[in-house]
């Protein structure tokens, strides 16, 4: 296990080498967060109740969604490593590439989390949003458990998307990754709670994996689900996780056979 703790340490260290880039990346996502935040502030200017949401609950939702995103999403460069042939470095060593990246993600996420709380403190001071905490301990537990599951779902989904680079190595698989990122930004519920969509469309989202990456975990915080719905959400997440896991393993197994180990 110590090999992965060393990976964690180096990943952490290199983020400090890149501290300027890291801060810029945080600023970029902070700006898109602020855009969403002020949009909702404007919507609630003259009403206190929109789509069954109070001003306080919707503003809490967008802040909580940002917290979920910080822990769920990551910046996985495996596609570039496949295209450039840098994957070779890991394939010849007694190290698991999946675990390697998982560890690097953990390092990145811990740092992002620290940044999140600094940003949150500033937002609380300057904007004074009407945030509230869950009323029950069970809400906290469901919230945190669903984030862990969502993080695993996205980890494998991301590996799967990047695995297409084995077959389409041009541009390091960037176009497909970009498309998926754009889709996710819209479909996961980071900008708005998915249940404000028309009921038929929302029904679809219950089957699709996207909402489970942000909306459903954040929903636990707001105590939106109870009883059988909680079970259904966790079951759906497990099923999607199993699907992503299976196809990731399959894609890597097949991909490594067509892998050209390029790069001169």
């Amino acid at each position: 296990m110590s090999k992965y703790s060393q990976v964690f340490k180096l990943s952490w260290d290199s983020n400090f080498v890149y501290r300027f880039n890291f801060v810029l990346l945080r600023v970029r996502t902070l700006i898109s967060f602020l855009a969403i935040y002020f949009f909702w502030v404007a919507v609630f200017r003259h009403n206190n109740q929109v789509f069954d949401y109070s001003r306080a609950s919707l503003l809490t939702y967008v802040v909580v969604a940002r917290f979920v995103d910080t822990l769920v999403f990551n910046n996985n460069m495996t596609g570039e490593e496949i295209a450039s042939g840098n994957l070779n470095n890991y394939l010849i060593k007694p190290v698991s590439y999946l675990k390697y990246w998982f560890t690097r993600d953990l390092g990145d996420k811990l740092l992002s989390l620290i940044f999140f709380f600094i940003e949150l403190a500033l937002i609380m001071l300057i904007l004074r949003p009407p945030l509230f905490f869950p009323a029950f301990l069970s809400d906290w537990l469901l919230f945190l458990a669903s984030i862990v599951l969502a993080a695993f779902m996205y980890f494998y989904l991301n590996f799967l998307v990047n695995a297409f680079t084995f077959w389409y190595p041009e541009r390091g698989g960037w176009p497909l990754r970009f498309l998926v990122t754009m889709l996710l930004e819209f479909l996961t519920g980071g900008a708005f709670p998915l249940d404000i969509l028309p009921a038929q469309i929302y029904a679809w989202f219950k089957w699709l994996p996207f909402g489970y990456l942000t909306y459903f975990p954040a929903g636990f915080y707001l105590h939106k689900f109870a009883g059988f719905e909680v079970v259904r959400i966790f079951l759906t997440m497990f099923v999607w996780l199993a699907i992503f896991y299976f196809f990731t393993k399959l894609a890597w197994k097949k991909g490594l056979k067509v892998y050209g180990a390029y790069g001169r």
């Binding site: 060393q6 890149y18 070779n88 470095n89 056979k257």
Partner: protein
């Protein structure tokens, strides 16, 4: 016993062909034409423990592909490969702990961190005990004279320093088998020599089995008793380096410096010799081995010669001729 054995190895790639121009691009959106590239086409060889073997061949000959198959990076199209008793593509940790691959044009070191950090990571990855790690590191760093730069960011190292650091990173786990792909590429002659001496020393000291590819004949001449020449994915020659001369060099080189001005017509008397270069007063000829003395005697009697030298064709020349497809036999 043979440590590495390769039999009838083939590695074919599917390469997609795009016609040039916009029309070609649009056509390729709908229908892609694929070509099969036979990077390695049915090669067999065995290598014994402690051997230092040179792979030579022009660009695209299949040298690197072979090394990648031996390292388990590429899945062979067909054939059998065994290294240290393992099938490389299974990528068993027990196998991976016993070999290393160094590519002169690739780096494994973390670009933004000091080399020492990457070394410590490798220590953990290869599960090297602390005392062994310290001992090996000290030994390698001394051999390569690298002490001063261990704590400098890798991106700030010179190419030569980086190559040395790459070698250290690859050798920390004391691999029994070492694949070196162009380890001296882009380095100046002094640094080339240092790396070369290091490889030789490493081979002798640790009885490591080494396969080396290089474009620099000096690397191969100095390091390798045995060479395998690959061209177009096939083994062209496998044996001792000096046998290449015996096998392929059926001619000698006559280097002559004339005392009087000469023109090409003057050489009509020595029909058996072909002019290799004509830079009066220096002229060199290639002559079939058996006529060399005869031609030299004739030159000395019929023309005013200041200096005359008979030499063997150089290995570079022979190999160049082999690769450009000239008939030497």
């Amino acid at each position: 016993m043979s440590l590495i054995s390769v039999s009838n190895l083939k590695k074919y790639y599917q390469v997609y062909q795009k016609e040039p121009g916009l029309a070609g691009s649009i056509r390729s959106l709908f229908k892609r034409k694929y070509d099969t590239v036979k990077a390695v086409n049915d090669i067999s060889f065995t290598i014994n423990e402690g051997e230092l073997v040179g792979f030579i061949g022009p660009n695209g000959a299949g040298k690197t592909t072979t090394l990648k198959v031996l390292s388990g990076l590429l899945y062979p199209t067909s054939g059998n490969v065994s290294v240290l008793g393992y099938t490389p593509f299974d990528r068993k940790p027990a196998f991976q702990k016993q070999f290393a691959l160094v590519m002169g044009q690739k780096n494994q070191l973390w670009w933004d961190l000091p080399a020492l950090d990457s070394f410590i990571l490798n220590k953990e990855i290869y599960e090297i005990p602390e005392d062994q790690f310290q001992r090996t590191l000290k030994e390698l760093v001394t051999m390569l004279d690298l002490n001063d730069v261990l704590k400098v960011q890798v991106r700030k190292l010179s190419l030569g320093q980086r190559m040395k650091a790459e070698l250290v990173a690859a050798l920390l786990h004391s691999p029994k088998v070492l694949f070196l792909d162009e380890p001296t590429i882009g380095l100046d002659v002094v640094m080339q020599k240092k790396i070369r001496d290091f490889i030789k020393g490493y081979n002798q000291k640790f009885k490591a089995t080494i396969i080396l590819t290089s474009h620099y004949m000096d690397d191969v001449k100095e390091l390798c008793d045995r060479v395998i020449i690959i061209d177009h994915g096939k083994i062209f020659f496998d044996g001792k380096l000096d046998q290449i001369i015996k096998k392929y060099a059926d001619h000698k080189i006559l280097e002559v410096v004339f005392a009087d001005p000469v023109v090409k017509k003057d050489f009509a008397v020595i029909a058996a010799a072909k002019i290799k270069s004509f830079e009066p007063p220096k002229v060199s000829f290639t002559v079939k081995r058996q006529y060399a003395n005869q031609v030299a005697a004739k030159l000395l009697t019929s023309l005013n010669v200041a200096d005359l030298n008979i030499t063997e064709a150089s290995i570079e020349d022979i190999i160049r001729e082999v690769f450009t497809g000239r008939d030497l036999s």
